[in-house]
């Protein structure tokens, strides 16, 4: 996993509540057995005028000019700004894979769905929860200011606006460490292999039916 420390990135606004993972990456693309290459199909149904199928050359497809991420001013965005309950629905990790492949490294929202939130950290994307009033103010600024960028400073746990105003955010100490160092969870867990064995043996004696 790539490290995440500090980001100075263009912001794209997706002004909706309850953006679900089916919308982020429609199911026909889940048939892939790879982890990469989902970017061109991120938000497929909103982004293109035709119905997307796996294996198409997306550069040839008609784009929906009304979809915000298609607007020239948001090309190259690295920070996605959205509203409540982002990433709800299916647990598909293809959703953060698609966002990452598209170029997003951080997502700012009022709230996230739980599994999606978790999946972001496993892929080096930082999901940031900010109060509704701050999110609202950011939407107004982004829309009013072409080229609007935000600094996301993970060590300082703050989102810094171009006017210098800093908005603090919370992140679990453990997850922060993992992101800052690009650590692989599995390697960390296996440091406790002895404890896992010990727990398992006890369980095998107490509840043998679980080990049939």
């Amino acid at each position: 996993m790539e490290k995440f420390v500090r980001l100075d990135g263009l912001v794209a606004p997706l002004d909706r509540n309850n953006v679900d993972t089916d919308a982020i990456i429609p199911k026909q693309f889940l048939k892939s057995i790879k982890r990469s290459g989902f970017g061109p199909n991120a938000f497929d149904e909103w982004r293109y005028m035709d119905v997307g199928q796996p294996g198409q050359d997306c550069s040839l497809r008609p784009k929906n000019p009304n979809f915000v991420l298609n607007q020239p001013r948001y090309q190259g965005a690295q920070v996605l700004l959205t509203r409540q309950n982002f990433g709800c629905g299916s647990s598909r990790e293809h959703a953060p894979w698609a966002l990452l492949d598209f170029g997003f490294k951080a997502v700012i929202a009022e709230s996230f769905a739980d599994i999606f939130f978790n999946n972001c950290f496993k892929n080096g994307i930082l999901p940031i929860v900010l109060p509704a009033a701050e999110v609202d103010a950011l939407f107004k600024q982004v829309e009013a200011t072409p080229g609007y960028k935000l600094v996301v400073d993970l060590p300082a746990q703050a989102v810094i606006r171009p006017d210098g105003y800093g908005i603090p955010f919370q992140v679990d100490a453990f997850r922060k460490e993992c992101l800052l160092n690009g650590w692989d969870d599995i390697g960390l867990t296996l440091r406790h292999a002895d404890k896992i064995h010990e727990f398992e043996e006890k369980r095998r004696i107490e509840q043998p039916w679980l080990f049939a």
Binding site: N17, V51, Q84, K122, D185
Partner: protein
């Protein structure tokens, strides 16, 4: 101190805990299907790691598999590759049980686990699938995980977790005739909202829940995720134990007695504290129908489509307007005036034997309306299918004009050939009415199996209570 069921489940699985509360949680059962596992197996192999305990794995192919012409195999080459990749991965690493495509016991992962006794009370159950919450019906700590976590469980038999808050949803009283677990689930989501359960583990309790069968409890816990909760569960009682007796992977003899004694402790203690409590009266719950593109956009069958003009929150109002536009509905029209094109009875929410019995009771001796293009009944597993056939339910459905299919996820998410065409409207017993969920441009209304059957007969939404 009195403990909640969640406290008990959590504490009995902590392998190690960090100071900030992050814990390593031991996983008893790992369910696997073809869509969310290939990258995990590949990752494991690339890192030179071996699965920790293959006897925890129960696998099946369900999302991509066709529901008819099984003799022809899987025609879509991309779907076929995914299913074959699962075959190859399981062949290589092994499993407690594998129900591949065309196996007599193949089916939807959340139907197959419980019916084989592979889901037992007190377990932690995970799967790369959000509806893993279904297994909470057996007093399990059961939830969906992403593919990285699938790999993590394969490699370590653990997950890194933080304890959730607890939400008690108490439903007291008796459900009215024609009102089912699905209606409770939708009514709860309508009350708390799709993000209302975020950060919580839900315990469903109260006399109305006690009165549900295991099938009903599975339907309810299945939908916990649609209320934002990672998991939902129900305490163990006689209904749980009766269901498990004699299932293939249930314990036997002395082990059964010992297990039952332990399982009976799996309930919240008298006086246990919850972070939040919600109470519903069973008598107040009507058969539910969703009108929008989120499960919280739901009303009773007698109601009208809500009017965004009456919504004061601008973001919510815009969401409602967008949903109505997508759904092709006008504010204030009667739910019963909404005509349907297709009917789908199936999915891990409502494809068990009891669901099919409820739908068949409505369909019996009646016919699907001529305006309905397709009415599908897709049993949740091969076992459900044969049981239904033994009871003659298939004959009732086909005589009424429904199609009787092979088991799988089918039109719940339309990864196989069963799907809606753009603009088509479906009464569906599945769990998600998101834009495009059942096919690009398709319009989904979530209902119970009995209500889906009633809509099939009427050609529009109808109150099933008038047909019973």
């Amino acid at each position: 101190m009195p403990k909640t069921l969640y406290d008990k489940l959590w504490e009995s699985h902590v392998v190690h805990q960090e100071d900030d509360g992050t814990a390593l949680i031991y996983i008893d059962r790992h369910l696997i299907h073809e869509v969310t596992s290939p990258q995990a197996f590949e990752g494991l192999k690339l890192a030179g790691r071996k699965p920790w305990r293959v006897s925890s794995i129960v696998a099946t192919a369900d999302h991509n598999t066709p529901t008819d012409h099984w003799d022809e195999g899987i025609l879509d080459p991309v779907s076929r590759l995914q299913v074959e990749t699962l075959d190859a991965n399981i062949r290589e690493v092994g499993a407690l049980a594998y129900f591949p495509f065309r196996d007599p016991k193949q089916g939807i992962v959340h139907v197959v686990g419980p019916e084989n006794g592979a889901t037992l009370p007190g377990m932690t159950v995970v799967c790369g699938d959000s509806h893993t919450s279904t297994h909470g019906a057996f007093a399990c700590m059961a939830h969906g995980i992403g593919t990285s976590e699938v790999e993590h469980v394969l490699a370590t038999q653990c997950l890194v977790q933080k304890k959730s808050k607890t939400l008690l949803v108490a439903v007291e009283g008796r459900l009215g005739k024609g009102v089912t677990a699905k209606d409770i689930a939708l009514a709860v989501i309508g009350t708390i909202g799709t993000a209302g359960g975020t950060g919580y583990a839900i315990e469903f309790a109260g006399s109305a829940i006690r009165g549900l069968s295991m099938e009903g409890r599975m339907t309810l816990c299945n939908m916990a995720i649609e209320g934002g909760a990672r998991m939902g569960f129900v305490a163990v009682d006689d209904t749980t134990i009766d269901y498990l007796r004699g299932r293939p992977f249930s314990p036997r003899g002395d082990a059964w007695e010992k297990a039952v004694a332990y399982w009976r402790t799996l309930k919240s203690d008298e006086g246990a504290r919850f972070d939040r409590v919600i109470q519903l009266k069973a008598e107040d719950i009507q058969p539910q129908v969703t009108w929008g593109t989120s499960p919280e956009m739901v009303v009773g069958i007698g109601a009208t489509v809500p009017d965004p003009a009456k919504q004061t929150d601008p973001v919510k109002r815009e969401g409602m307007e967008r949903a109505l536009q997508y759904m092709g509905l006008n504010p204030n029209m009667g739910i019963k005036d909404i005509k349907v094109d297709k009917i789908f009875i199936g999915s891990c929410t409502n494809s068990r034997i009891e669901d099919l019995r409820e739908a068949a009771a409505v369909a019996k001796g009646r016919s699907v309306a001529a305006s309905v293009k397709l009415a599908l009944v897709v049993p949740g597993s091969g076992l459900v299918k044969r049981q239904a056939e033994a009871e003659g339910l298939d004959k009732i459905f086909t005589a009424a004009g429904f199609q009787w299919r092979e088991p799988g996820c089918s039109m719940c998410l339309a990864m196989n050939a069963d799907r809606l065409e753009p603009g088509e409207r479906c009464a569906s017993t599945s769990n998600r009415n998101f834009e495009g969920r059942q096919g690009p441009g398709g319009r989904t209304h979530l209902v119970s199996p009995a209500m889906a059957a009633a809509a099939a007969i009427a050609g529009h939404f109808a109150d099933v209570r008038d047909l019973l």
